[in-house]
């Protein structure tokens, strides 16, 4: 037995939808006949339903509830459930995408900040070494070179270097060059501001042998490129 009415060219849902609106019925006579029969049955059941309700008030046993359009109610219920759920899913996805973008931007900013810190250290160290190489002012003390300013800069850079040693290096090579620069800065910062020319020459030689200035400059450029 098939519980659903079969009407040519119409789905059962559509048939129920237009059942009480004959102006929407299809032109097909067979379909119209089927719909008319269905409408008759529907009206009869409706009348019986009203009678049953009257009986119910008198204490007679209540017949099974007859729903006029059970599929419509189901659809409405589905829509009521699906709409907020759908909104929630779409909203959650949008929020997750924003959170992901925010995390990515924060990570980019963190990496950029780190690279710029290292790049600035390398740049300033390179400048200091060049300055130490070319600037040979005499100190007030006889036969000594005035290295007071370079020594101050070395002290400040040494402090930065200690800070960088506490951080993850942007590349293993960067850490190696930092350690070399650190050793050189340490030597300079521990020297007398009026430096013995022989000692100054030693430090120049050391920087030159290890190519410290060029290495620092190269890494500074590389990191600046990555941080842009």
């Amino acid at each position: 037995m098939n519980p659903e009415p079969e009407i040519p060219g119409l789905s059962p849902e559509r048939a129920f939808e237009i059942l009480e609106r004959p102006e929407l019925w299809p032109d097909d006579p067979a379909a119209q006949a089927e719909l008319a029969a269905l409408l008759e049955l529907h009206l009869a059941l409706q009348a019986e339903g009203v009678a049953a309700e009257v009986l119910d008030t008198t204490g007679a046993p209540r017949p099974a509830a007859i729903h006029r359009f059970p599929w419509l109610l189901s659809a409405a219920a589905a829509v009521l459930v699906a709409l907020p759920l759908g909104y929630h899913i779409v909203h959650s996805r949008a929020m997750a995408a924003i959170a992901q973008d925010q995390a990515r931007i924060q990570e980019v900013a963190r990496k950029r900040g780190q690279d710029r810190l290292w790049a600035a250290f390398f740049q300033q160290s390179s400048t200091l070494i060049q300055r130490f190489d070319t600037n040979r002012q005499a100190c007030e003390r006889k036969n000594t070179e005035d290295r007071a300013e370079e020594r101050e800069i070395a002290l400040a850079l040494l402090q930065r270097s200690h800070g960088l040693a506490g951080q993850e290096a942007p590349a293993p090579e960067a850490e190696l060059v930092r350690a070399d620069l650190h050793a050189w800065l340490q030597e300079l910062s521990l020297e007398d501001p009026c430096m013995d020319p022989q000692r100054a020459e030693e430090l120049r030689q050391w920087a030159s042998t290890h190519n410290l200035s060029d290495e620092a400059k190269r890494l500074s450029r590389a990191l600046k490129g990555g941080a842009s």
Partner: protein
């Protein structure tokens, strides 16, 4: 001239002989020579031999005024040779024996922190040493220890890192370390209750990303800007170094800067 003839010639014309050097001076000279040799070896990266020289100097010239220096450079040489545990022990010995050496002492503490930092979780004294350094009277040393502990996610570093946000030379490093620990780098709140809001709109995206920064961290704003955006801001006359002061003096809701490049547009407001 044969040796016999030379002796005869000297005997015939003795002349003034140089005065013999006092034994102490000879010894001092020999010590200096050893230190010089150690330094030259160090400069040429021959760390192992340099360390041997310094050890020999310490063994043979224990009474020299240059012992503290030698002890420091021995530790530094071991550090350069990546013998971290030996270096940390040598720095500790230097600090124990020469507590009066101020400048070398600070360097020794900072270098020892680096050695311990590398050996965290491997050498038994490393982590307790770093934890103890969090209580050092010198802020720079506390911060250095906190940065090393933060590397392995040790939460004991957080209070010191927060203090470090107030130190000009350490603020950036501490801020990054806190971010790596997953802690918002919030320093002491602004007296005016202000903060900066960075709104970033990336090309091809509909949503604007909003990031809030404490006023004391205004310097970090530049990390959200590309080099091109920094140039644009400077061209517009924005003082990126003095953002904190500017933000503190502007009324709430003011736009501090607004810059664009191909990838994004960034607006920073005071709120």
């Amino acid at each position: 001239m044969t040796p016999t003839l030379l002796v005869l010639a000297l005997a015939a014309n003795p002349g003034p002989l140089p005065e013999p050097m006092p034994l102490a001076a000879v010894k001092e000279d020999a010590g200096e020579g050893l230190l010089r040799e150690a330094k030259n070896l160090r400069y040429s990266g021959r760390w192992f031999e340099a360390a041997v020289c310094y050890r020999r100097f310490l063994a043979e010239y224990g009474g020299s005024t240059r012992v503290p220096e030698a002890r420091f450079w021995l530790a530094a040489t071991l550090e350069s040779d990546q013998r971290w545990d030996e270096a940390a022990a040598a720095y500790s010995e230097f600090l124990d024996r020469h507590p009066d050496q101020r400048q070398l002492g600070k360097e020794a503490k900072l270098n020892r922190i680096r050695c311990w930092g590398i050996r965290q979780g491997q050498a038994p004294q490393a982590t307790p040493g770093l934890a103890a350094a969090l209580g050092d009277p010198v802020a720079e040393i506390r911060v250095a220890a906190a940065l090393q502990l933060a590397k392995v996610g040790d939460a004991r570093s957080v209070p010191v890192l927060r203090q470090g946000l107030e130190l000009p030379g350490s603020a950036d490093a501490c801020s990054l370390a806190l971010l790596n620990l997953g802690v918002k780098p919030a320093a002491v709140a602004s007296p005016k209750g202000r903060f900066l809001v960075i709104r970033i709109r990336e090309a091809g995206k509909t949503d604007t990303i909003t990031i809030r920064l404490a006023l004391s961290l205004a310097r970090a704003v530049v990390n959200y800007l590309s080099d091109a955006q920094i140039r644009e801001a400077r061209a517009k006359g924005v003082d990126l170094e003095g953002l904190t002061d500017q933000a503190a003096n502007l009324p709430k809701g003011s736009v501090l800067l607004s810059v664009d490049d191909k990838k994004s547009s960034v607006e920073v407001t005071v709120e």
